[in-house]
Amino acid sequence: MTLVDVLEALLFVADGPVALDDLAHACDAKKIEVEASLSELGSRMAASGPLQLVRIAGGYQVCTKPECADAITRFLKPQRQRLTRSALEVLAIVAYRQPITTGEIEKIRGVQSDYALRSLVEKDLIYEVDRMATPGRPILYGTTDQFLHIFSLNDLDELPPIQGEPVVEEVGA
């Protein structure tokens, strides 16, 4: 059993993305060794078989390759909840401007957004980060790890750029 094999076994039994630290601890190996073995495992999986190694929501996880999607869909009959355009818009605003209040979101969108916010909380995509220390103590929303997961993001830095924003940052720097 090589370290690569053990890592594959751990990622198989894990119920979500696994942090490098946890893998290293379970394997009783150095992080740098684990990283090298993960990279080997990733190439091996990419080269053949139906599985692949991804970095997602701050950890490593194994998932199927897109080519198997049809058979899996027939098999699992998943009831994927599609996000509406307005829910996506609210989600994007929360993602880029977090922590943000309902009021601030509504100011940007120009429409009431509490229904969309509530449904995003229920889907575990956003959560109440904190409350503002102003009258009424409005809730401040932020995105969850589940948000990163459903958009295949490793962390918030991987968010696609808002139009123009990268240039703006350079100017500000």
Binding site: C63, P66, L83, L88, E89, I108, S152, Q163
Partner: protein, 245 residues
């Protein structure tokens, strides 16, 4: 260069939002609202941004606007005037330009600025829906499997019966003396098997064992087999235990 962004992405009527004017210049690329905010916060050097094309684009927009939205036009005009004033001051050879007048209603970035991000998130979500992960509940119930090639449950039951017949019969005391926990018995069995390398069941049982000892040792053995710490085989009808390296 300035150009007008999609008009359909205008914020709903009735709200004073600046027009969706996108500015593209060497010093800045983004919406007029964002440029306004950056200028107000002193985070952008206006001297590097030609404002004339912005003004021309703005006039074009007003001309093409079918419905008269005075609020939107006014909000954008206010932002433009503010930018021109700030830039004018910054071009003058004075050290400290006067602080800008506080504008009551600031143009806020509008939802259309997020349109690109929403599109790319939607695309990512679509791609992501082609990937499948092991389901959480499956992992929750995950047990480390028994070693392949082990004896069957029926074989173990027979071995258990045989060894039970040889045990010293002792009446079960309802409130018996303190017994070691299953974890302790497991540790003992594992130690014996490891030190023997290859052992029969007698090796792991105490001398002059009772029926209760047999029950405890078998329970421990089953657990050790289940978690893959011990391997069991049959050799000429005899149960043989080996440690799993």
């Amino acid at each position: 260069m300035s150009r007008i962004a999609e008009k359909t992405s205008l914020a709903p009527a009735g709200l004073a939002t600046p027009i969706p004017l996108r500015v593209e210049s060497p010093g800045f690329a983004g919406s007029l609202a964002t440029l306004f905010h950056l200028a107000r916060d002193g985070r952008v050097d206006l001297s590097g941004i030609p404002l004339a094309p912005v003004c021309i684009a703005y006039c074009e927009y007003i001309r093409e606007m079918r419905e008269d939205d005075v609020d939107a036009a006014g909000a954008a005009l206010l932002a433009l005037a503010y930018l021109v004033e700030r830039k004018a001051w910054s071009l003058l050879p004075i050290a400290d330009p006067p602080p800008p007048e506080e504008i009551a209603e600031l143009p806020e970035p509008t939802a259309h600025e997020f349109a690109f991000a929403v599109d790319s998130l939607e695309e990512r979500h679509r791609e992501r829906s082609q990937l499948f992960f092991r389901q959480g509940e499956a992992a929750d119930n995950y047990e480390v499997p028994m070693a392949p090639g082990t004896v069957s449950a029926a074989d173990l039951a027979k071995a258990f019966e045989r060894i039970l017949l040889r045990a010293r019969p002792v009446d079960i005391e309802p409130l018996a003396r303190h017994r070691p926990s299953l974890a302790d018995v497991m540790k003992g069995v594992l130690r014996s098997v490891r030190s023997a390398g290859r052992a029969t069941i007698e090796v792991v049982l105490p001398e002059d064992f009772t029926r209760l000892d047999v029950v405890f040792v078998f329970l421990a053995l089953l657990e050790l087999l289940r978690i893959g710490q011990v391997k069991a085989t049959f050799d000429e009808g005899e149960l043989i235990l080996e440690p799993v390296s």
